[in-house]
């Protein structure tokens, strides 16, 4: 009975989303305020209905209701409760439900926090979001319903959640990532609303800026969490694999980064209007494309969990309607956008435009690299794969170019900024960075590498340039506290994000060039020297977990002949699925991670063992965290709240007589 309540709530949400897609748009087109006013209550209702559906599915998992097929396929009596909760989004149907729930959540947020925006505008925005919702809910109800039941003979136990996903990383990674992906729908909806209404000035940019920034911040954290999870769970010790699905999240991230910067120009200076509109459409379209690539099975990937061509056709049709429709509207309207104002060859605008182009080239390269195997196969060229060499060859030089733009840009002024005095601090910073960068490999990396020297130089240059910009502002405002209180929060956010990128690049450069790695055959009593460490296997045992059996090795790690730590990596075999998983042992540190993972048993009690020392690897995620934090700081800005409060008064003033 309870699953039917969830099913009913899902159908209800579908009906509400149709109303939300139709009524406010109809109201706008026929100038009937009554229809426009339905947008907010409908958005709230849709959110509530989906929350009920989601809650019911979660209850099914917690209560072991194996009569629900989705629960039976993805849970087990032995599965711990916290993994039963995250199992809700552990496979295709449930992750779609999470997607729809988050879309509805963003709709609710727009309905609640858009008091400063004219009603007809927020009605159009919510209507566009309703249209997206219709597509997703129809997809779920017609091809991937999570509430399908196995009746009358429900299985006594479930098939278990994919062991790869039985990890705390899965609890947070998909919701964060979806918050980002789906959050970009808000910027998309604002762009569409302004195209529909023909109000193509800079106002839509001001309204959609905080939404874009917060979605970007979630996307950043979501991708970082995914990368961190892959690092410690997949057992290869890598942090980024250029897997199609990773790329599917990176492409919208790059475009969203470009969009954030382009929105700043459009808001402040009224420039790049049609370019910004296109980026807003592209960012969300590429998120949808990512969903298509993951769900339709057109590309091989570790994430592809629903290789069903019928579903693929449905998503493709949906993509054609959403992306094709929005690009058609864009083509019809954006040609008429005027671009008032001019800017000098050297100005903040030109630096932002430059970085926008670099980010776009990056996004297009990743997209081409990801789709190339598909394109070649489609024209009968056979099976090819595009690997890290291509992506690295494209990304490394483009990142270097991007960083020089990031060093100059914040120091430049709007309109015209060709006074060389402005950029003088950068020369000194560059000299310092080059000196430290050249010395770095011999001091901290153990072996000399020219690519490390260049990479560290770039990272340091960006970090110091960011600090210089910060110090300049402190000088202008006279004191640290006044600066922090009075400067735009977006500026503080930018410092965090740019500094975070520098931290991340330092981590990437060190890990890629100076990882010490050994694949060994080890048995009890064997020892191996690795850097300053001596690693000795002291024990092998069989451990019984709640839903798995593990071979567990005990390693003692000695640093300079002092016992420094004992770790126990495992090789687990999960009972229900028989899948074998590697649990690596990682000793994390500021300067290095020590990574020990068990490979295959080699007979005679020996095991293949992977030992790695990964310098500065945690800086990658620390940097990404700083970037995400920067995004959240930006939206704290008083401007967004103030506008809200003022408009709230206006709104209540209007409502009072009624």
């Amino acid at each position: 009975m309870i699953p039917e309540i969830g099913h009913f709530a899902l159908v209800l949400a579908f009906a509400v989303s149709i109303c939300l897609a139709v009524f406010p748009l109809y109201g706008y087109l026929t100038s009937q305020d009554g229809f426009c006013a339905t947008a907010k209550p409908l958005a709230l209702m849709q959110g509530l209905a989906l929350a009920v559906a989601f809650g019911v599915l979660m209850y099914g998992f917690l209560a072991h209701d194996f009569s629900v097929k989705y629960v039976a396929d993805n849970s087990n009596l032995d599965l711990p409760w916290h993994f039963r909760m995250s199992a809700v989004w552990g496979a295709h149907e449930g992750s779609l439900l999470l997607w729809a729930l988050i879309l509805a959540f963003w709709g609710v947020a727009v309905a609640l926090f858009s008091r400063g925006i004219p009603d007809h505008m927020s009605a159009l925005v919510l209507s566009v979001m309703g249209m997206i919702s219709v597509g997703f809910l129809a997809f779920m109800l017609f091809t991937s319903n999570p509430f399908v039941r196995i009746l009358p003979f429900a299985p006594g136990n479930g098939a278990d959640l994919n062991p790869l996903l039985q990890d705390p990383g899965l609890i947070f990674h998909p919701p964060m990532l979806y918050m980002g992906y789906v959050g970009l729908s808000v910027a998309f909806a604002f762009a569409m609303a302004s195209l529909i209404s023909g109000q193509l000035d800079a106002t839509w940019a001001r309204w959609s800026r905080p939404w874009t920034t917060v979605a970007w911040a979630f996307l950043t954290l979501g991708i970082a969490l995914g990368s961190w999870w892959a690092y410690y769970e997949l057992g290869w010790g890598g942090w980024w694999f250029w897997d199609p699905v990773e790329n599917a999240s990176l492409i919208p991230w790059l475009v969203a980064t470009a969009l954030m910067h382009s929105l700043a120009v459009t808001e402040k200076r009224g420039l790049f209007r049609s370019w910004t509109l296109l980026l807003a459409i592209a960012a969300f379209s590429l998120s949808l494309l990512g969903t298509f690539l993951v769900r339709s099975g057109v590309l091989t990937s570790v994430h592809a969990f629903a290789n069903d061509p019928e579903r693929g056709v449905f998503i493709l049709g949906f993509l054609v309607i959403v992306i094709g429709g929005s690009l058609t509207l864009y083509a019809l309207r954006a040609g008429k956008v005027s671009e008032p104002g001019e800017f000098g060859w050297i100005s903040r605008e030109s630096f932002l435009l430059f970085n926008n182009l670099v980010l776009t080239v990056m996004a297009v390269s990743v997209l081409l690299g990801t789709l190339y195997p598909l394109l070649v196969d489609a024209v009968g060229g056979g099976k090819v794969s595009v690997g890290p060499p291509f992506f690295n060859a494209v990304f490394v030089p483009l990142t270097a170019i991007l960083i020089s733009g990031m060093a100059f840009g914040p120091l430049a002024k709007w309109r015209q900024s060709d006074d060389p005095k402005l950029y003088r601090p950068l020369i000194i910073t560059l000299i310092v960075s080059v000196l430290v960068g050249l010395g770095w490999p011999s001091l901290l990396a153990g072996s000399y590498s020219i690519s490390t020297a260049i990479g560290v130089t770039m990272a340091l240059w960006l970090a110091i340039a960011t600090v210089v910009d910060f110090k300049k502002k402190v000088g202008l405002y006279g004191g640290l506290t006044t600066t922090l209180a009075r400067v735009e929060k977006g500026m503080i956010g930018m410092w965090f994000a740019h500094f975070g990128l520098a931290v991340m690049i330092l981590g990437v450069v060190m890990v890629e060039n100076h990882t010490e790695h050994r694949d060994l055959r080890m048995g009890v009593g064997d020892a191996q020297r690795l850097g300053n460490y001596n690693v000795r296997m002291t024990d092998l045992a069989v451990i019984n977990g709640p839903n798995y059996v593990a071979d567990q090795a005990t390693f003692e790690i000695y640093e300079d002949d002092q016992l420094f730590k004992t770790v126990t990596p495992q090789k687990r075999r999960y009972d229900a699925s028989g899948m074998v998983m590697t649990e690596a042992s990682i000793d994390s540190g500021l300067m290095r991670d020590l990574y020990i993972a068990m490979g295959e048993p080699l007979g005679d009690g020996d095991w293949a063992v992977r030992l790695s020392v990964k310098p500065f690897v945690d800086w990658i995620w620390a940097g990404a965290f700083l970037m995400g934090l920067g995004g959240f700081i930006s939206i704290m800005d008083r401007r967004y709240r103030q506008k809200l409060e003022v408009k709230k008064d206006e709104a209540s003033g209007e409502e009072a007589p009624a």
Partner: protein, 172 residues
């Protein structure tokens, strides 16, 4: 922006859609096998059920399917009823791949044994010679012992109608 330039994104998207539509009917996981048109590799293993020695010479003298399976493979369980049904039309030879004897025998006792022969390959040596990437995989072999088709993943009526039947008609 130029009046014509604004149509460019839509055109690019339209081309991509064409490729995606084509891509839906292609399987990215399908690997072309180097063994198509080649004779079945030489091997010397035992029969799982009887324990007798098996070589290439004991394989059927008529077109048959060689099904690579293991008790640890979930999809093998899924395709098992279909293979059982198929075994009434043509011989199905089992290749028990990287498995243990007890687990494999229990599995067959539980789900039924439609196999004409059961090659026991616990170390995966024959699997390696066949280029097996994982279980299940199914090979179509003709009466002269030449391999004609390799299918990765589940065999069901759709796969049979689309892939196996057309090839089977040409070799019969």
């Amino acid at each position: 922006m130029n009046r014509l330039m604004v149509w460019l994104p839509l055109c690019i998207f339209a081309i991509l859609v064409g490729f995606f539509f084509k891509g839906l009917s292609l399987n990215p996981n399908e690997q072309p096998s180097a063994l198509i048109g080649q004779p079945f590799p030489v091997f010397g293993l035992t029969d799982l059920m009887t324990g007798e020695r098996l070589t290439r010479e004991q394989l059927p003298r008529q077109p048959y399917l060689l099904n690579v399976w293991a008790s640890w493979c979930i999809t093998c369980q899924v395709e098992h009823p279909y293979l059982t049904q198929l075994s009434k039309q043509m011989p199905v030879v089992g290749l028990n791949y990287k498995d243990t004897e007890t687990a494999a025998k229990n599995w067959l006792a539980k789900l039924g044994d439609p196999y004409a022969l059961q090659i026991f390959d616990p170390t995966g040596r024959l699997g390696l010679d066949l280029g097996v990437a994982g279980a299940p995989e199914t090979f179509l072999v003709d009466s002269k012992g030449v391999i004609h088709l390799r299918i990765q993943g589940e065999v069901n009526d759709r796969v049979y109608a689309k892939k196996i039947q057309p090839v089977l008609e040409t070799i019969q």
